[in-house]
């Protein structure tokens, strides 16, 4: 649990972060969002004391971070930034081992952990012991960045626009990966992004900032359905209906034990893509299958319209 209590950061007369109060519960995936200069990155970096607040308190599980020595604190918290943050003169394996080495884990344990993480992030273990960051693609480098952040099994992960420099396809596959890691580990993740799609897709809650002030802190569904003001409204954009659909999967709306003709869709597909498929195929219902398995129900176009967030 991370509690921000009246957090302010001033540089001279300018308040980059201005009296922000909210709490990220344990296990949450919290996106810090806002236009550039909104203070989202500053807020993130105050959690691991890379920046000290000018006022207010941040607590991790009740403990004030200012009372934890910075190096101890940072080794407890995974930190990932854009791929340029990898150490270019270290092999991939050594990059991943950074925090375990700082914590003086025994060698065998570090090697086992590196192997685990290379598998978890779908990196070729045979090659990564020898290779250097510059020999990897941008997407692979970013996977390494995430692996490094996870290495010492930290309580939480801080990520500062980690996928900002990637092409849309790679970005999307890494987002899926991160969502999977979040589900399987249950770690608290705080994630800075300026991309509303990314935030809606990944976050369980979104903190929207503007000029250092917290404008709204809510679930993606509530942010879309009940924006706090015009700024939020304009920030989430115009396709609110379609965006809402993208928050739910076929499994959420299907009518079980029915069947329909045609190629079945996966239960994990989101409703926005399902609607697109219906229009493409010219049908008003789609059979839904369990991950390559049997058909478990039918998704009706009419059901897409009901049950807003």
């Amino acid at each position: 649990m991370i509690a921000f209590e009246h957090i302010t950061r001033a540089y001279g007369p300018a308040r980059v972060v201005d009296d922000v109060t909210f709490t990220v519960e344990a296990g949450e995936f919290c996106a810090l969002m806002g236009p550039s200069g909104s203070g989202k990155s500053t807020l993130l970096r105050m959690i691991n004391r890379l920046i000290e607040p000018s006022g207010g308190t941040i607590r991790l599980d009740g403990e004030e971070v200012r009372h934890i020595p910075p190096q101890t604190l940072r080794r407890r918290i995974g930190y990932a930034i854009q791929s340029v943050g990898l150490f270019p003169h270290w092999t991939i394996a050594r990059n991943i081992a950074t925090v375990p080495r700082l914590l003086r884990w025994p060698r065998e344990r570090i090697e086992r952990r590196i192997d685990e993480l290379l598998h978890l992030l779908d990196l070729d273990p045979a090659a990564m012991w020898e290779r250097y960051p510059h020999q990897l693609s941008g997407g692979q480098q970013q996977r390494v960045g995430v692996a490094r952040a996870l290495a010492a099994d930290p309580e939480m992960l801080l990520m500062d626009e980690p996928f900002g420099a990637l092409d849309p396809v790679t970005r999307s596959s890494l987002q899926a990966e991160l969502a999977r890691i979040h589900r399987s580990t249950g770690k608290t993740i705080v994630f800075v992004t300026h991309d509303i799609e990314e935030a809606l897709r990944l976050a369980t809650r979104i903190a929207l900032l503007r000029k250092g002030k917290l404008v709204q802190f809510d679930t993606p569904g509530r942010l879309l359905a009940a924006p706090a003001d015009d700024f939020v409204q304009s920030f989430v954009g115009s396709d609110i209906g379609l965006r809402l659909l993208s928050l739910y999967t076929a499994e959420d709306r299907l009518r079980a034990r029915e069947t329909a003709p045609g190629e079945p869709i996966s239960k994990e597909i989101n409703l926005r893509d399902a609607l697109s498929l219906m229009i493409e195929r010219g049908v008003d219902r789609l059979p839904v299958a369990d991950r390559g398995g049997p058909i478990i129900g039918v998704l009706y176009a009419a059901d897409l319209m009901q049950g807003r967030a």
Partner: protein, 242 residues
Amino acid sequence: MKGFAISLGFLIALVFGMPALQPVFAAAFPELERPVYQQDSFATLTALHLGLVAASSAAAAVIAIGLGVLVTRATGAAFRGLAEMLVAGGQTVPPVAVLALAVPVLGYGALPAMIALGLYGLLPILQNTLAGLDGIPGPIRDAARGVGMNPVQLLAWIELPLAAPVILAGLRISVIVNVGTATIASAVGVRTLGTPIILGLNAANLAYVIQGASIVAALAITLDLGFERLVALAERWKGYGS
């Protein structure tokens, strides 16, 4: 790689084979009674020369790198301009002048020579240390701090290894210049490869000058190529795969 071996072989041949060239020098300078310098062996002179260069360059390296690291820390940043100015000043005073000023205070011998050579060698090392450390991208430092490295770990694991190729390039320039400049130490009574040169100039014995100078030149070239290998070693991670 090959160049280094060839140049090292040539240097060794010159150092140990100079007496064997007696007939050549005798033919070229028939008016000279003793056409090859023999007061000391060239091996001894080369060893003494190298010793002086190594001691003064090592001192310059420790001071310049230390100073470079110090003024790039938050606490030392205020002294950066001053350090650069002082060291640049050291470069503008010719070593001969430093020797002339040092001798009345310190007397003849290796110490004033070391001070003069050391001062003269600071600038390229300091400049390159600063350039190397400044050239490390901000996000790399940010990541290193963010994963929990303390300032010493940040310096030893990240900053110095990443700046090493640039720092070594500065050391290379400093050492090569030092090899040539160290010959003047013989003016204050230190035996170096400059001894035959100075003696030859005083006695109008061109053969001695050629003998001393050719070994100094071979030594400089060999060291230069040796440093090239060191620099390549320091940045070998860049070469993999790409």
